[in-house]
Symmetry: C2
């Protein structure tokens, strides 16, 4: 993910001889969160998850588990542009999978640490994710060129979403009513996405992809911020080059709590990632 | 949950004056895992999650956040019957929700700690989960007395499932083919459940309920162990007294990875909990 790649070099406590080969090992990586990842004044949460995952994956590759398979992330505070640390603690090294905890931390001017995200992930290899025995099929969506581009000049809301300069997002017209003040109320959004810099999707991009776009609550007429409490995801295959199709749905809203489900298909129609999150929501009239 | 309740007394680092009111606070609770929670030689994972959740909830009740709302759990090693510790670290105390990490740990004869589950949970109050704006409706299932009781004498497989002495489980006949060697292959199991000791369901029971029963892979003809890598869940309401209806489904199996979704409805038909897990599976013929 562009400038985030520099975080991949983890230093392990104990010096050069130490490494992630056993439970208890701790490594720390340093990176930088560019302003290009901002949505308003906060860094996109998907970027933080991709950062945490790639830091741990780079370490666990040496034990044969280079791919995130499933993870959970609890969001603790809003991240800002600037330096960032990822602390990786290996919890378990197994034969087929390993588990690590990742803490995404930023320091203030006095050097005090502020944790942004606490993640736990299980890593292995996506080679095992073959063949596809069953998976939800992608919905019928017009081709990207027949969808509505989400650009910063499209609305005052979009103007503060800096990531739209990096992300080419094309909204299925049948789910784009929210942008014209006519949300469907069904709780469905479908968006094609790819990176503007030409980067092709890979497994490392997918934790970002599941949380890169607008919340499904937009389609319920709730255009405000929908703070994510917890997000969990699964990677289900390596994406082919080309566009990703992202579908956001909700079938559960109780009080001001909403469950959002996301499916991501690659350009061949293969399901490559899923996520579910519990978020706060304020429905119109409530 | 019977004998697990004793874990509710947490001691906080720093003595009596300390408490969970700020990030960084650490409390430790002690309990005992009875043999009655065994499935084969391992304690049921749902029991461990309920234990971790109740330990943290007992602490966070003092800041107005007594209910688990959403959590993720990574399973690190199999728990055995005997003493257990839950270490709770408060990660964030907010106005409407707080977040804590829970480590469920057992010690061996030499006193070495073995972590069983690493959980992270967000807590608040389920009072906010009203009204129900939308939620999946419960499936049509015959009344419990017209379903098939799962008892230890029903099969060699069931004989080692000690929890069936505590749990009254009644399987929807239309999804019970696995027990007669005729799994449907659809990937659906529906089971009524209640505790045999007369305990009525409450929010604290729900993290157990989502993982108390047989894996959905039974209905795919995979009768072996389906090791859970990660499970995430959401609590969506306080259950009414009476039976819980638990539906387990899978729509995603890639290679030897399976996503299991669980919905739990109370006796009034209200959806009260959901979970999703990534588990390993070995399909017949693979």
């Amino acid at each position: 993910m562009g400038e985030l790649d520099e975080v991949l070099a983890l230093g392990w406590d104990g010096g050069a001889a130490a490494g992630p080969s056993q439970a208890g090992a701790v490594g720390v990586g340093h990176g930088h969160l560019g302003e290009g990842w901002l949505i308003g004044h906060a860094i996109n949460g998907g970027v933080l998850m991709a950062l945490g995952a790639s830091a741990a994956a780079s370490g666990l590759a040496s034990v044969g588990h280079p791919d995130l398979l499933t993870w959970g992330a609890h969001f603790l505070s809003a991240a800002v542009a600037g330096p960032v640390e990822v602390r990786v603690e290996v919890l378990r090294v197994g034969r087929t999978v390993s588990t690590a905890e990742m803490r995404v931390v930023q320091r203030d001017e006095e050097g005090r640490a502020h944790e942004r995200v606490r993640m736990t992930g299980t890593f292995g290899t996506l080679d095992r994710a073959e063949p596809v025995h069953r998976a939800p099929a992608p919905p019928q969506v017009p081709a990207p060129e027949d969808c509505l581009p989400a650009t910063r000049d499209s609305s005052p809301l979009a103007a503060v979403i800096a990531v739209l300069d990096r992300l080419d997002a094309r909204i299925d017209p049948s789910t784009a009513g929210f942008a014209m003040g006519r949300p469907s109320g069904r709780g469905v959004l479908r968006v094609w996405m790819r990176m503007r810099d030409g980067r092709e999707p890979d497994a490392a991009l997918l934790p970002y992809a599941v949380d890169a776009l607008m919340p499904v609550s937009f389609d319920l007429g709730a255009l405000g911020w929908a703070p994510t409490m917890e997000l969990t995801g699964q990677l289900l295959g390596r994406p082919a080059p080309g566009w990703l199709l992202v579908e956001m749905t909700t079938d559960t809203v109780v009080g001001d709590l909403l469950i959002e489900d996301v499916c991501v298909w690659d350009s061949t129609g293969r399901l490559v990632a899923r996520s579910r999150q519990l978020a706060g929501v304020r429905l119109p009239g409530n």
